[in-house]
């Protein structure tokens, strides 16, 4: 990717405009000039609170992603491979899936109380769907001839899944995990803002309640950076891992 200086013009101009505008407006409880936001960012970075909050949020997001992703992957493989099972569960899945993850918060709160477990459970719930649906489609779409080759070679069910189905579906499964990773971060922060007293979402909430718009915006910008970095890392990994497979997928 080549750097294009024109991409920077708009953000820089907006930041400059915000600086001028907010200073002209005078003190506010909801806005802060970018210079103050930067100051608050270094302050929160310096006293460790920002990093601790980042750690809490990412730990919950990744744990939830791992659990939800594993469930989605397993179910997706099973449903994609076993047609009767797919038909049996289709209605159930389509009824449960539209329930927004935030709507699960009250039940999860009663069941699990505040803390990591609550957040991980809700993130896991939210992260089941993309891997489940995409893995199911990818597995159901595995070249039938390869399944016949597996039958002809009398591969065990386990070997069939590990040697044929998963490698064939892997590029698309990875895309599903990239989507789920984005969802995991969003849901983790949402749960923190809604109820859970930890992480970056809680940091935004407390900063807002403390009438610290500079700190609030610093958290906001930081969440954006974390999300951007996460996605960039996953895109990079995808290209490194599946460069060849992706090409083959496109060619055939």
């Amino acid at each position: 990717m080549k750097f294009d200086w024109r991409a920077v013009v708009l953000p820089v101009a907006l930041i400059a405009l915000a600086e001028i505008g907010v200073r002209a407006h005078g003190p506010s409880d909801s806005l802060a000039p970018p210079s103050a936001v930067l100051g608050a960012f270094f302050e929160a970075f310096g006293d460790g609170s920002l990093l601790a909050a980042t750690r809490d949020t990412l730990a919950s997001a990744f744990a939830g992603l791992a659990i939800g992703g594993a469930i989605g992957l397993t179910l997706g493989i099973a449903l994609g491979a076993i047609r009767p099972l797919d038909r049996a569960l289709e209605a159930t899945i389509e009824i449960v899936r539209p329930i927004p993850s935030v709507a699960v918060v009250p039940i999860a709160l009663v069941a699990l109380g505040f803390g990591y477990r609550l957040e991980i459970a809700i993130v896991a719930y939210a992260c089941v769907w993309a891997p489940l649906l995409l893995t199911r489609a990818a597995v159901a779409g595995v070249e039938p001839r390869l399944i016949e080759v597996a039958r002809a070679l009398r591969l065990s069910l386990f070997a069939r899944v590990v040697k044929i189905v998963i490698p064939a579906a892997l590029p698309r499964i990875f895309v599903a995990f990239r989507l789920a990773a984005g969802v995991a971060l969003i849901v983790a922060v949402t749960v923190e803002i809604a109820v859970n007293p930890l992480g970056l979402g809680y940091g935004i909430m407390t900063a807002g309640q403390a009438l610290r718009p500079d700190l609030m915006l610093a958290y906001l910008v930081w969440i954006g950076i974390v999300g951007f970095a996460l996605n960039a890392a996953l895109v990079f990994a995808q290209q490194r891992l599946f460069g060849r497979a992706a090409q083959i997928g496109e060619a055939s």
């Binding site: 070679l153 040697k163 083959i248 055939s252």
Partner: protein, 255 residues
């Protein structure tokens, strides 16, 4: 010959969704025999092969292998599919694709690399172990599929129009290599093709099927001398006579 049949169809019926594709098919293939099946499209020749491999179960009748009822695919029976591009693992290189058959048979890891190079050399791909199927020509891909099949150390090779998609020169090369390999190892070959000359050139016997539903219409014993030769065999009067007989049969069957 029939007393030592490797594969025996006894009055096999096969129906798809109530529609009869094969009707009362009875035939016996002896050990080491090369039997070619020809017929107009829709005559069920591929279906017959799939029944013989155990990929399909007869609706009625019985398929016996080595005297025992056939229940599903066997590792000592290798299937060469026509669409080699779809039958290979695109994420594995040539060596990895051959390895799949060895892994399936739980061959000890130690000897694998050596066997893989020997198999690739046998099918004329000695220097292509690291190439991926997408980097290979159609002929090379089919050679690779054959190498994987030979890795099963099959007593029977089931081939479904394996050379149909290849250019004429490559096809002739592979025909001769198949005869060499089968001749040297005594492998039984069940070969489906729509190419009448190919059937006569390869076979000890050629069976012509009639369509709707598929049944045996003609059976020709091929007594052309072996080893066969792409020029001399195809010029032999007996070859031409068989070709005419088979051609007339197909013409009649299509009417």
């Amino acid at each position: 010959m029939s007393h030592d049949a490797l594969i025996r169809f006894s009055a096999v019926d096969l129906a798809f969704a109530g529609k009869l594709v094969l009707s009362k098919l009875s035939l016996a293939i002896a050990r080491g025999e090369i039997v070619c099946i020809v017929g107009p499209s829709g005559c069920g020749k591929t279906t017959a092969l799939r029944v013989a491999t155990g990929l399909l179960t007869p609706t009625a009748g019985e398929v016996a292998f080595s005297g025992a009822p056939l229940k599903g695919p066997r590792r000592d029976v290798a299937i060469v599919f026509q669409d080699y591009g779809k039958a290979l693992l695109p994420w594995r290189n040539a060596a990895g694709n051959v390895s799949l058959a060895l892994e399936a048979a739980a061959t000890p890891r130690a000897g694998r690399a050596q066997r893989i190079s020997a198999l690739l050399a046998k099918v004329g791909l000695p220097d292509h172990a690291d190439k991926y199927p997408s980097q290979m020509s159609g002929g090379m891909q089919q050679r690779l599929q054959i190498a994987r099949c030979l890795a099963q150390e099959p007593i029977a090779l089931m081939m479904d129009e394996p050379f149909g998609a290849l250019d004429a020169m490559t096809r002739q090369d592979l025909q001769d290599e198949l005869l060499k390999i089968a001749g040297a190892s005594g492998t039984t070959v069940f070969f489906v093709t729509h190419d009448l000359e190919e059937a006569i050139y390869l076979g000890d016997r050629v069976i012509g099927l009639l369509p709707h539903p598929g049944r045996i219409g003609i059976e020709l014993k091929i007594d052309l001398p072996r080893p066969r030769d792409q020029v001399a065999t195809r010029e032999a009067p007996e070859f031409l006579r068989l070709r005419r007989e088979l051609y007339d049969f197909i013409k009649g069957a299509e009417r």
